[in-house]
């Protein structure tokens, strides 16, 4: 008991900073979400649940941001999942060349999102951009698209960037999972004469399911939060076709000066992310106890 008292000092700095500068503002957000505060003037009114009702019944842009978020998350997750799993399967052994490839693939992860955004905006640039140039020189003009300008493909173009950015990180997680599979399992499969596909389905897949869960959950949360990349590349355009919740909150708060309304959005955002995180914990937990 005496020990506990003395040890009390240990928690103070963390609790103080976290409490004042993270928990308290979150609670304030909850408070602002029922006001019409514009963020500038000193006065505001309480509007009850009006902001929330408007969000779901009277705000096409917010609903669009939600669906864009789902599109972005799904496409980025699928790309990231397939590429990282596929490449991880080729890079299981710790040979020199494999270690090199893993390190190389990992490289983009350390770059700033702003940098990655700039790089890819240039790569995607119409006419002068390297991608269009490459397609032209290969005689594939018909494949040229308005990568970031066509409202039906812009969000997917950014999903590709997202995958390029983080596949390397996911490879590492998969490789760790794959290396943990006992060799005997494969030997048994070999003796039984299982094909490569069968081996994958019966041996590899069940064993790396926890890693897969982590990859999917992480990508999901990251794509929901992908503010930097979209803000640098398209700022949510053209015509809101790449607007996701994170950028929408920022725009509503700082461009349209509707702090109260943005706060209501952020509360909904919180609920969504909370639900996904909770699900992730549950799933990983289940695999670990198995």
């Amino acid at each position: 008991m005496r020990a506990s008292k003395k040890i009390g000092f240990f928690i103070i700095p963390a609790l103080l900073i976290y409490g004042v500068f993270y928990v308290y503002p979150t609670v304030l957000s909850l408070f602002y979400s029922i006001t019409d505060w514009d963020g500038v003037s000193p006065a505001f009114n309480f509007v009850g649940l009006k902001n929330f009702i408007n969000l779901f019944t009277n705000d096409t842009i917010f609903i669009k941001s939600l669906t864009n978020n789902v599109k972005f998350t799904l496409s980025a997750s699928i790309l990231q999942f397939l590429f990282s799993l596929g490449l991880a399967l080729l890079l299981i052994k710790n040979t020199k060349s494999n270690v090199f490839f893993r390190a190389l693939y990992f490289f983009p992860t350390i770059l700033a999102s702003v940098s990655v955004g700039f790089i890819w905006t240039f790569l995607y640039a119409p006419n002068i951009g390297p991608i269009d140039q490459l397609l032209k020189s290969l005689g594939l003009e018909w494949m040229i698209q308005d990568w970031l300008g066509d409202k039906s493909i812009a969000i997917y173009s950014i999903a590709v960037v997202k995958a390029w950015f983080h596949v390397g990180q996911m490879i590492v997680i998969f490789v760790a999972g794959l290396q943990a599979i006992p060799k005997q399992f494969y030997e048994v499969a070999k003796i039984e004469g299982a094909s490569a596909l069968q081996t994958f389905r019966r041996v590899t897949w069940p064993m790396i399911a926890p890693a897969a869960t982590i990859v999917v959950a992480y990508t999901t949360i990251q794509t929901f939060k992908a503010f930097d990349l979209i803000y640098t590349m398209t700022r949510g355009g053209p015509n809101y076709s790449t607007e996701i919740i994170a950028t929408n909150i920022y725009n509503v708060a700082f461009r349209s000066n509707k702090f109260g309304y943005a706060a209501a959005q952020s509360i909904i955002f919180l609920v969504i992310i909370g639900a996904i995180t909770f699900l992730q914990f549950k799933l990983v937990d289940r695999y670990e106890t198995n």
Binding site: V40, P126, N127, G149, S152, F254, S256
Partner: protein, 440 residues
């Protein structure tokens, strides 16, 4: 391995301390350097101003193209007033719209700042961030009729500095080569299409349209001016009396669609950035750039041999032609109400509006100004004045869409059409957004 880890940790522990020290040393050094420079340059002035406290003004704006010109002006200003330094911070015009009012709030940034007329001006005014400059002496140097964009209820909050034409820039030689007549092209919509076709046949991209940033906001003005010649139209849209699903806007969108689908715009028009548009016309790939007269200096910087002018389509028939083109008084200079250096800020604006300085700025950057007394010597400026001065131009219609969200919806409908949506449907979608915004 442990050694490396220990080293890493040690580095992490030590560097913050070092960096903190280094930082302090660095900043103090910096101020020393500037001090010395000033002393060298202006020993005489220095003596006079010795008692005055050194002040650094922050000047925020969005004209990256004018950075060098402002650097020069600032150094001249600094010669005259050695105790005042000016630091310019430049944003992209897009980013500026969304961040200006936030960054002005604490009074540390933007002692002198610029703003766009219309929506942004209103936001900043409502935020009470403009210092009242009605009684400043420099206001009288401006052409009264041209600075109303900064006037509200008899109070002058800011003064527009630039007088721009928000209509396409064109390459004269390209027009000649394609056999397009300047006046003829502006006659009616069909003649405009005809001109584009000729340019296309001559191997040009007729119009570089930077739909990725400022294109829609700029070109919409020429494109709608005679389809709805009434200047009160956007106020009526904002009050709900008029809808953009009406004929005038749907037709504007249909025209955008026509230009795009006939290949009169560059490909991938929705993601072209203004900078790339400038490159396209500078490299003579495109014959026109659908933004405004303010782009001319940038284009000439890339290719000084071009002969450029400005032109505007008439989107209606010859008989319906009310307006010849679009003008706008913009780059509203204002003083931050929360600034601690208002006096110095006023001195800087006053300096900017001196005849010699203003003329230097106008001619190096190719901008027409709203001042009474400016000497235009640049060829392009004189010619634009000659050709467009006598014509009837309309104040940029977009300027009257004073709600930023509504403006986004309107511009979005243009981007939608470029992406292949039917004009009527794009207008319907945008009107739905506007209804929502107005009902919230």
């Amino acid at each position: 391995m442990k050694k490396v880890l220990a080293l890493l940790l040690a580095v992490m522990l030590v560097i913050p301390v070092l960096a903190a020290c280094g930082k302090k040393a660095d900043t103090s050094e910096n101020t020393n350097v500037t001090d010395n420079n000033d002393k060298d340059n202006n020993q005489d002035n220095q003596n006079q101003d010795q008692n005055k406290k050194k002040v650094t003004l922050s000047f925020v704006h969005w004209r990256g193209e004018d950075k060098d010109a402002f650097d020069e002006i600032i150094s001249r200003f600094n010669e005259k007033y050695p105790h005042i330094d000016v630091e310019q911070t430049i944003y992209t015009s897009e980013q500026y719209v969304s961040t200006a009012h936030t960054l002005l709030q604490d009074g540390e940034a933007g002692d002198v700042f610029t703003s766009f007329p219309g929506a942004q001006f209103q936001t900043i005014r409502k935020g009470d961030l403009f210092d009242d400059i009605t009684n400043q002496s420099f206001v009288s140097k401006f052409n009264e009729a041209l600075i109303t964009a900064g006037l509200e209820d008899g109070v002058q909050y800011a003064v527009p500095f630039q007088m721009v034409y928000n209509q396409p820039v064109y390459n004269k030689k390209a027009f000649e080569k394609a056999g397009v007549d300047f006046e003829g092209a502006m006659k009616d919509w069909d003649s405009w299409l005809d001109a584009c076709q000729k340019l296309k046949d001559a191997g040009y991209v007729p119009i570089a349209f930077p739909g990725g940033d400022i294109g829609p906001g700029q070109f919409m003005n020429s494109m709608m001016m005679n389809l709805e010649p009434d200047e009160g139209i956007w106020a009526r849209v904002l009050s709900g009396e008029a809808k953009i699903t009406e004929d005038w806007w749907v037709k504007t969108l249909a025209h955008f669609n026509e230009l795009n689908s006939k290949g009169y715009f560059n490909t991938s028009a929705n993601s072209l950035k203004h900078q790339d548009g400038i490159n396209m016309i500078a490299s003579e790939e495109a014959a026109m750039l659908a933004t405004g007269s303010y782009a001319i200096s940038g284009i000439l910087a890339k290719n000084p041999d071009l002969e450029l002018g400005i032109i505007s389509p008439n989107p209606a028939s010859e008989g319906e032609k009310v307006w010849d083109g679009i003008h706008n008084a913009t780059f509203l200079l204002g003083i931050n109400k929360k600034s601690n250096h208002k006096e110095e800020a006023a001195m800087f604006i006053d300096f900017l509006t001196e005849k010699e300085i203003a003329s230097y700025y106008a001619n190096t950057t190719g901008q027409q100004l709203t001042l009474k007394d400016v000497e235009y010597t640049s060829k392009e400026l004189m010619e634009i004045g000659e050709v467009w001065g006598p014509r009837k131009t309309r104040t940029q219609p977009r300027f009257f869409i004073t709600d930023q969200d509504v403006q986004n919806a309107v511009l979005g409908s243009i981007q939608d059409v470029i992406s292949g949506t039917e004009p009527q449907k794009a207008a319907d979608n945008a009107q739905k957004l506007i209804d929502e915004i107005l009902s919230r």
